[in-house]
């Protein structure tokens, strides 16, 4: 697409950046027109975040040049980026929970203004752009959507000519997303350019004017977003045809596999979430999807379902009607309950240990309890070498060497390994949290297929995920977690994405019976 020289706000040529031997950006060219919504699309690890961090001055490019309004500049710090009219909203918010909205904005401003004036300014901006937040509210009391609005206001205070947004919708409900898009479109029509980073194709088609696709650190195409399809974008992004999932044909069993009854758990630190009156059940041969925005109690729920923490009463968690609330995680593994926490490194695996050692991590009890005391005494990771090789082979885990450190694997391959390790235990009940989070499309498809196969072979699966598409694609039944409260369970045919979105935003909490716990 040809653009007049005059209209171009930011032009980057041949940007290169490597970290050690890893090339994150390689000769990337991109130009953003004034008032344009420009999307940056690519899989995880394609180099999107690196590129925008270079624009915002957080990272310095190894080579290449950046021009703003046809003037070559070097952006050596975020300060300089802001002075040149570049603002950025990060994926992970950088707000102090103990301060108010206005205080948070005040400390981020480069020029010092009086507190009262900041409050007025915020009220004015929030009215003008329909970014409703109360400037005097504490940030810890805000919802995720509101926090994002604070970040946007903070950028708008500097009158930016380019607003960079890094995966802004990954934490929002469908309703909040709609609202955000309205604001972004209005901003663009007022002349502010927007660089919008995402890997969600529908969003890009709906929102963007132009898309630049990154793949393994290179810019491979710039496309007019109004004249393309999601399929075309997906195939260009991945570089190959995407295999479709084989939907399971299930024999519906009515046998209850796993149940949680009236489970309460007070939060154990200030920014944790208390679980309130959780009830769920899953049958054999079924996938139960637990939707919800990250940080609404999924981590806490997972801890208690896995057995890392015990429930208060033994009969709050039942396996085939047998109470197991007081059993620990290894006893549950022996009973056939396998869990995968959402953090792949440092929780599901230890990054500086090899794959066989990481297999030993959840397998060690299989090699003890033999009759020979010396074997019991010398139970060490050597024992799990064969098992880990089997896991690698059966799950198509691509390794740089035979028994690499966990940190040497890419996110997708590590997750395939973790999943394979769980499946090798032949579980009756599988509880997986965010299994495809941050994983490339190829690996994500493979992992989803494994979950479908698992339920088809008659196992019970609980899938905790913030990816709504994934939830709808895989689940037979759906429930939603919001601020530690679980909604009732719906059949997937009786509920729409809009309903789920409303539940994710906490809409049903008023009509649900809630007993405050002491």
């Amino acid at each position: 697409m040809a653009k007049k020289e005059l209209d171009i706000l930011l032009k980057a040529t041949k940007i290169c950046k490597s970290f050690g031997n890893f090339v994150a950006n390689q000769n990337i060219d991109i130009s953003i027109a004034k008032g344009q919504i420009h999307a940056l699309l690519g899989e995880n690890g394609a180099g999107k975040s690196t590129l925008v961090k270079i624009f915002y001055g957080v990272l310095q490019p190894d080579s290449g040049s950046i021009e703003i309004n046809n003037q070559k500049i070097s952006i050596t710090s975020p300060n300089i980026a802001r002075k040149n009219g570049i603002g950025m909203v990060f994926q992970h918010f950088s707000l102090f929970p103990a301060l108010t909205v206005a205080e948070n904005i005040l400390i981020a401003l480069d020029n010092k203004i009086k507190f009262k004036k900041v409050v007025d300014e915020i009220s004015k901006l929030s009215k003008e752009w329909k970014l409703f937040v109360d400037p005097l509210k504490l940030v810890s009391e805000l919802s995720v959507g509101e926090k994002q609005r604070v970040e946007i206001i903070r950028c708008l205070m500097q009158n930016p000519s380019l607003l960079i947004m890094d995966e802004p919708t990954s934490v929002l409900t469908p309703q909040e997303i709609k609202n955000l898009f309205k604001i972004l479109k209005k901003l663009a029509s007022s002349g502010c350019s927007i660089l919008y980073i995402s890997h969600k194709l529908e969003e890009i088609i709906e929102l963007a004017d132009e898309v630049t696709i990154l793949k393994s650190g290179k810019s491979i195409a710039s496309i007019d977003a109004k004249k393309t399809t999601t399929n075309f974008l997906a195939e260009t992004m991945v570089g190959k045809k995407i295999t479709e999932l084989k939907k399971a044909i299930r024999s519906k069993s009515k046998k209850i596999a796993f149940e949680v009854k009236n489970l309460d758990k007070l939060k154990d630190h200030e920014f944790g979430i208390s679980l309130r009156n959780i009830n769920l059940q899953v049958n054999y041969g079924e996938i139960l999807g637990v939707a919800g925005i990250a940080g609404n109690g999924q981590v806490e729920l997972m801890e208690i379902l896995s057995g890392e923490i015990n429930s208060k009463d033994n009969d709050q968690i039942l396996l085939e009607k047998i109470p197991i609330g007081k059993t620990n995680i290894n006893e549950r593994r022996k009973l056939g309950i396998e869990t995968i926490p959402e953090e792949r490194t440092f929780h599901a695996t230890v990054p500086n240990l090899t794959l066989s050692e990481n297999t030993f991590l959840t397998y060690f009890f299989k090699y003890s309890n033999t009759k020979s005391w010396i074997t019991n005494l010398l139970n060490n990771p050597q024992n799990s070498l064969d098992e880990s090789k089997k896991i690698v082979k059966n799950n198509d885990v691509r390794c740089p060497e035979t028994n690499p450190l966990a940190s040497q694997l890419s996110g997708g391959n590590l997750q395939k390994f973790i999943l394979g390790r769980s499946l090798a235990n032949n579980p009756k009940v599988a509880i997986f949290s965010q299994p495809t989070w941050g994983v490339d499309i190829g690996a994500a498809t493979a992992i989803r297929q494994k979950l479908l196969d698992l339920s088809q072979s008659g196992k019970a699966v609980i899938l905790i995920s913030q990816d709504l598409e994934e939830i709808f694609e895989l689940s037979d039944k759906i429930c939603v977690i919001n601020e530690g409260v679980l909604s009732e369970i719906f059949d997937v045919r009786d509920i729409t994405a809009t309903d789920v979105g409303l539940l994710m935003g906490g809409k049903n909490r008023k009509n649900q019976k809630m007993d405050p716990i002491k």
Binding site: G20, I329, P341, F346, H347, L361, F364, N380, P381
Partner: protein, 359 residues
């Protein structure tokens, strides 16, 4: 601004070259400093690095000096590997020696050497009990173990001072703060070599080191407990996921390291002093922290690190005695050596990048 970037792979050659380079740099700066201060630089370096090896009895003195460092360092390794920061080995050393001394002095006429097994056990218990205080405070009340274990060092120092001036003072000591001499059964003898006699102060306590190093290697690398310690130190969440109990690991490593420090205390007193006195340790508990890290928290590494540190300490003593170099100067030199050794090790793992920092 300087940033450290992890290297993709630690080169095998550098594992050997780095320590050699560190020593070369140390010698260079040592030469500069000694010349500047007006001491004969070559003779000083000779005293520090060569004289400890110049006679066979001096070599055995290195082993004697390294013995408590290696024993304590091995215990501390277990703590540091699991991210438990026991800084109070000095106190555990003293309390081990004190409890063993109390047992030894309670049986003034005992002669059989089997009694040593009891005093060594008492030393282990004494040190372990002293380490149990930070262990229980950390696991039950979440009190920082660094603070508690360090403060207990001073309590232990004052306590042994009180004991040898009061309850256990020898009435025949002419007012000196000393206990009665240990009975024969509580003394560790020097090793006689046929045809040569004794080699310096080399005593049977060194055998304990030769047992400890292989056992601790097996414990760390070949047992489930060693694996648990490693996982807890690298990723506490993963330890939870594996069902390892954090508190029991924390208590175990503190008891083991306290116990080993206590045993080192018994060996030091029984072999080299033979009675209790206000000062039984000469900073072994603190120096062993350096030994543990210099040995990269591995049993074999700690064996070598203990010997290196002991050599330099003895060499510094020699330089003080023969050349009259003040202790602060040799201390400075020891500091330079440690600085370069640790720098060398860091640079094996990390690259340095200079970048323009914010002003």
């Amino acid at each position: 601004m300087i940033t450290f970037i992890p290297r993709d792979k630690v080169s095998k050659n550098w594992i050997i070259i780095a320590p050699i380079l560190s020593i070369v740099f140390t010698i260079f700066f040592g030469l500069l400093i000694f010349t500047f201060l007006g001491y004969n630089p070559l003779e000083t370096l000779y005293q520090i690095f060569v004289s400890p090896f110049s006679r066979i009895d001096r070599i055995s003195d290195i082993l004697v000096k390294a013995c408590p460092l290696i024993i304590i360092g091995t215990g501390l390794m277990l703590c540091f590997k699991s991210n438990v920061w026991n800084i109070g080995a000095e106190g555990q050393f003293i309390m081990g020696a004190l409890l063993a001394g109390f047992i030894a002095l309670s049986f003034p006429n005992i002669e059989t050497k089997f009694f040593l097994l009891i005093t060594i056990l008492a030393g282990f218990v004494g040190g372990a009990l002293w380490a149990f205080i930070p262990a229980i405070l950390k696991t039950k009340l979440n009190v920082n173990e660094i603070l508690v274990s360090l403060m207990l060092v001073y309590v232990a120092m004052l306590f042994i001072d009180f004991i040898v001036r009061g309850p256990l003072r020898d009435p025949m000591s002419f007012g000196f703060p000393l206990s009665k001499p240990y009975p024969e059964g509580a003394l560790i003898n020097k090793i006689p070599f046929p045809g040569i006699g004794f080699l310096g102060q080399l005593h049977y306590g060194i055998l304990f080191v030769f047992l400890l190093v292989p056992f601790s290697w097996i414990f760390v690398n070949k047992t489930l407990s060693g694996f648990k310690i490693n996982v807890l130190g690298s990723a506490p969440q993963a330890a939870k996921f594996a069902g390892f109990k954090q508190n029991s690991i924390t208590i175990t490593v503190l008891l083991l390291s306290g116990g080993l420090a206590g045993v080192a205390g018994v060996i030091e007193v029984s072999a080299n002093i033979g009675q209790l006195q206000p000062e039984v340790s000469f900073g072994y508990g603190f120096t062993a922290i350096i030994v543990a890290f210099l040995g990269r928290l591995s049993p074999i590494g700690i064996l070598f690190a203990g010997i290196i540190i002991a050599t330099v300490k003895l060499g510094a003593d020699n330089a003080q005695m023969t050349m009259g170099i003040p202790k602060v100067v040799t201390g400075l030199f020891e500091g330079i050596l440690l600085f370069f050794l640790l720098t060398g090790e860091t640079l094996q793992k990390y690259k340095i990048k200079w970048s323009e920092g914010k002003k």
